[in-house]
Amino acid sequence: MISKDLSVEFLGVHFENPFLLSSSPVDNCYEMCAKAFDEGWGGVVFKTIGPKHFKINEVSPRFDELTKEGTPFVGFKNMEQIAEHSLEENLHDLRHLKDDYPNKVVIASIMGTNEEDWETLAQLVTEAGADMIEMNLSCPQMTSHEMGSDVGTNPELVKKYCAAVKRGSDLPMMAKMTPNITDMVPAAKASMAGGAVGIATINTVKSVANIDLDRKVGLPIVNGKSSISGFSGKAVKPIALRFLQQLRTAAGLEQLPISGIGGIETWQDAAEFILMGATTLQVTTSVMQYGYRIVEDMKNGLMHYMEDQHVEHLSELIGVANKNIVPAEDLDRDYKVYPKIDWDKCIGCGRCYISCFDGAHQAITWDIKTRRPSIDTSKCVGCHLCNLVCPVGAITTGEVVMKPGTKGNPEDVQIESSRLTHPVQ
């Protein structure tokens, strides 16, 4: 079994590996965190601890899922707020986790309703021995507008509360940002101005996932009604990666330390977040679906990836892809690449033909007798929809042609791609 050093330094704290449980029911108590540590997680962001005066009263049921064809949990909707356990229990658990697992990282997630709350909570979790603080400025379904994403979208409040936490604690502190905002940069900068040294993102995306068609109510149904609430899991990964990119390319935030969250389930997802600038990785939904054991394949797969990339430390991979994601206006628009069809691989299903006609440029001709498609280059725009729908990977990238009136050598164009040039089959 491969063995490689997965350790990272994040906000001055050493992590034996970058995989953390994100703050949620997956790390609600001592027992859960202990089991997760035993199964190999590097740290936990303990379920968000609120002020003593804010009473949590949760609904039942509280989850829903988005499915597509045979796949469950494409996305996951939850209506849960912050920790249900008492402040005392939570502090007790934090202390014991740190005592029993000194080499694992215990991060306290906190949320207050005013400056005093934030300061007090920061103090309490610091006394309990937490290694780091994460400010939850992003839960989208709090029953108070003084809390959660309503605060996180208001840079002034963000800065004020971060400063309050700094008054209560010297621990390194990160602010957890909401994706329910057009531009995350002002809120991130405000948190840094208030004393945060890193950003955790994303929290859940506000959603209505499904409607019960007979009852005409959103799901889940809570005594006949439902609410807008947070969406997570695989479906939000693209949204999370987009925010990472925007943060890491904003002026002044190029080296921003990020704890990446949103739809991580495999080592490949993890590697993507790292390449987009995350140093640590947080996970909830896939753990809720499959359990802590998923960390085994994430760690092992990441080690193999490092070996394949000839990399000794994950730090060498952090943010490597940021420079290759550029504004749309900066992309090379001088060429197109035609698809190429391998008739030996083709099984004659005609899906490419249907998609090209109904969703692209009517550039595939279909031979009724042989049941084989061909590309009409006079119509083909090179969008490669056909490539994506082919079930057997018979369509790949073919010839590159320069558009009329442009200079440049087609051979210099880089078209290699794991998706289109080497379609999975």
Binding site: I2, T71, T266, W267, D297, M298, N300, G301
Partner: protein
């Protein structure tokens, strides 16, 4: 192009293996893993496939089972892991063998080199026989730091992997790859040496710290009435002849009669059909409801076009003409044929090897003999007579030797 005899069933693609892995329920306390005799841990490697960690999947298989690519192809999974699979509660079990084959093919394609030789402990073990049991014993001992010499009476290694199981089920190339991994770990294989004849057990014991007898049941059984008959060949001789020639044998008969109803008989009958023998008739002592061959093998054989007649025993033979009688019915039939193949079982020969067997196996549990330097494993030890059990027994005898010589400590 491979011939009909050589052609293996198609394997999964990346897309289809993910579809199959997605059917897996990722069970808690997975029953499939508990049911694998060799501890290959299918639930673990299927989970790795599911989470797109093919290299990790390959590590799990290889570290648990040095014959991983072979078991993927020849395991009677319907008796072991797939019998236990929870998915049966919904429809049909996960195709564990198929997924294992995909992963081990990937391992080879990526030229992964997973097993590591242990730091030398200065001890040396002789293994008699290079079948799956001997090979697994070698792999486990080498990883623990022992030096290993394997003595094989044949020209090539592998036992029945090499000379028994037909090419279309187990390509020779796969056997080579698996054996090479063990040679690369440091096993020395000495060919064309029959222990007990060319070299004595006493010699082996003098040169090694322990000797493991893993000779399998490598000789064919004969029925007295067929002795010396020029039309008669034994199943294992026939299968070895065809496999060595990659199916390109002389004098393909127009018809053949197979006597026997186990998996070996099914392999012979199917091989004959793949060689384009027009009429292949298999006469079986058992009736269908008491059949020995696995359902899978029986179905495949019937699909190949073999006529199987159940409940008959041969009572007389005159050259190429055999008479059969039904065991219970008043029925007799006489068949004239070009080739008669006897698939009535294999027997053990442990002459001069210091191991006593009766009815094909040592009559006590475990792997030890009265001589503290001599151990045995594989088909001659108690337990199923399959490759995956040979792997299990190989792992277990290696542990027992390690316990005996070093108390399990490095």
């Amino acid at each position: 192009m491979s011939t009909k005899y050589e052609k293996e069933a198609p394997s999964y693609t990346m897309t289809t293996v993910m579809e199959e892995a997605a059917r897996c329920l990722l069970c808690h306390d997975a029953p499939c893993s508990k049911a694998c005799p060799a501890g290959t841990d299918p639930a673990r490697f299927i989970r790795s496939v599911r989470f797109r960690n093919l290299k990790g999947a390959a590590e799990t298989i290889r570290e648990n089972n040095a014959m991983g690519a072979i078991c993927a192809r020849v395991c009677p999974t319907e008796k072991y892991c797939e019998l236990a699979c929870s998915r049966t509660g919904i429809d049909c079990p996960i195709d564990i063998g198929g997924i294992q084959r995909f992963v081990t093919d990937y391992e080879e394609q990526e030229k992964m080199d997973i097993l590591r030789k242990g730091d030398s402990n200065g001890l040396s073990i002789a293994i008699v026989g290079s079948g799956p049991a001997g090979l697994q014993t070698a792999a486990t001992l080498l990883q623990k730091g022992y030096a290993v010499d394997i003595y094989e009476k044949n020209e090539k290694a592998g036992g029945y992997l090499r000379y028994g199981i037909p090419e279309y089920r187990l390509p020779d190339e796969i056997v080579d790859v698996e054996i090479n991994r063990i040679v690369n770990l440091g096993a020395e294989i000495k060919y064309n040496v029959t222990i007990g004849k060319d070299v004595t057990m006493a010699d082996l014991k003098a040169d090694h710290d322990a000797v493991v007898v893993a000779v399998g049941a490598s000789e064919a059984k004969m029925l007295p009435m067929f002795e010396g008959n020029p039309y008669v060949e034994t199943a294992v001789d026939f299968l070895a002849r065809v496999k060595e020639a990659k199916g390109d044998i002389d004098n393909i008969p127009a018809s053949a009669v197979v006597v026997g109803g186990g998996d070996v008989a099914m392999d012979v009958a199917t091989t004959l059909k793949r060689l384009d023998v027009k009429n292949v008739t298999d006469l079986v002592y058992e009736e269908f409801d008491e059949f020995k061959a696995s359902k899978k093998e029986l179905d495949a054989t019937q699909k190949a076009g073999v006529t199987i007649v159940d409940g008959y025993v041969p009572t007389d033979v005159d050259g190429n003409t055999i008479t059969f009688k039904h065991r219970h019915l008043d029925s007799e039939m006489t068949i004239k044929t070009d080739l008669i193949i006897l698939a009535v079982g294999q027997q053990v020969n442990t002459d001069n090897l210091g191991v006593n067997t009766d009815h094909g196996e040592v009559q006590h549990a475990g792997y030890k003999t009265d001589d503290e330097k001599v151990f045995f494993t594989g088909d001659i030890a108690q337990g199923d007579k399959t490759v995956v059990w040979a792997v299990r027994k190989g792992k277990e005898v290696a542990e027992e030797i390690d316990q005996a010589l070093l108390g399990g400590n490095k």
